[in-house]
């Protein structure tokens, strides 16, 4: 799946959204994550994963073809660690067909919300 396919899917599942809006939504999400990483911030999306940066110190590298030593400058690299829920989902996809409840079942959540006593009640 590419970014444009993601945009098309978002527009198709939300008919009231105009195509430019769907595009802006997807772009905004990745722009905000990129900007946060560029500031040195961390982005944590529970259940999905966390984006952070890691520092790589300067080191002596080697040109694999000539064997000559070259200085490699230090740098900061982006890093993504999948959340527990996503990790398990991906792994579940490996073992035969996914057999656990499909994510398209909103009923339990709704029932739970209704059963929670209102603090003001």
């Amino acid at each position: 799946m590419t970014k444009s396919e993601l945009i098309a899917m978002l527009a198709a599942s939300n008919p009231h959204l105009r195509q430019p809006d769907a595009e802006l939504i997807v772009s905004t999400i990745f722009e905000e994550i990129s900007a946060a990483l560029a500031r040195g911030d961390r982005v944590e999306l529970r259940g999905f994963g966390a984006f952070s940066t890691k520092r790589r110190e300067a080191r002596q590298g080697r040109n694999p073809r000539t064997g000559a030593t070259v200085a490699v400058a230090g740098k900061t690299v982006p890093y993504f660690k999948a959340g527990k829920e996503l990790r398990e989902r991906i792994n579940r996809g490996a073992a035969a067909a996914p057999q656990a409840a499909s994510p398209a079942a909103p009923e339990p959540a709704r029932a739970r919300r209704g059963s929670v006593p209102h603090p003001a009640a």
Binding site: M1, T2, K3, L6, M9, L10, S13, N14, L17, D21, L24, I25, V26, T28, I29, F30, E31, E32, I33, S34, A36, L37, A38, R39, G40, D41, R42, V43, E44, L45, R46, F48, G49, T53, K75, T76, V77, P78, Y79, F80, A82, L86, R87, R89, I90, N91, R92, G93, A94, P98, P103
Partner: protein
């Protein structure tokens, strides 16, 4: 160092697109869910100028419980890897953007 959360991303969508806060949050969730579903199906997700998420199959190997030294098989599994694009890597290092046309990550 600050931590950016769903709430911040939803707020950015709200500010940029002019939808309600509720709808902005719901659409953010839809986008994350679409990405997760594609990965669950084993399909890579390529986001230009950001990076590529892909699923890799790992074979079975023999591991060892580091505390007891007992050998245990590590079952075959699938893991998610993220490969950042050249554009994102350059941006994080405050460097000028690499020339268009050859973006390794996406």
């Amino acid at each position: 160092m600050n931590t950016v959360t769903r709430a911040h991303l939803a707020e950015a969508i709200y500010a940029q697109v002019g939808l309600s806060r509720n709808e902005s949050a719901a659409l953010l969730e839809t986008v994350l869910e679409r990405i997760a579903a594609a990965l669950e199906a084993g399909e890579p997700v390529k986001i230009a100028a950001f990076g590529t998420f892909s699923v890799r199959q790992k074979g079975q190997r023999i591991g060892r419980n580091p505390k007891t030294g007992v050998e245990v098989p590590i079952l075959p599994r699938r893991v998610l890897t993220f490969r950042p694009s050249q554009v994102l890597k350059a941006r994080i290092n405050g460097q000028p953007l690499p020339r268009a046309g050859r973006d390794g990550g996406a």
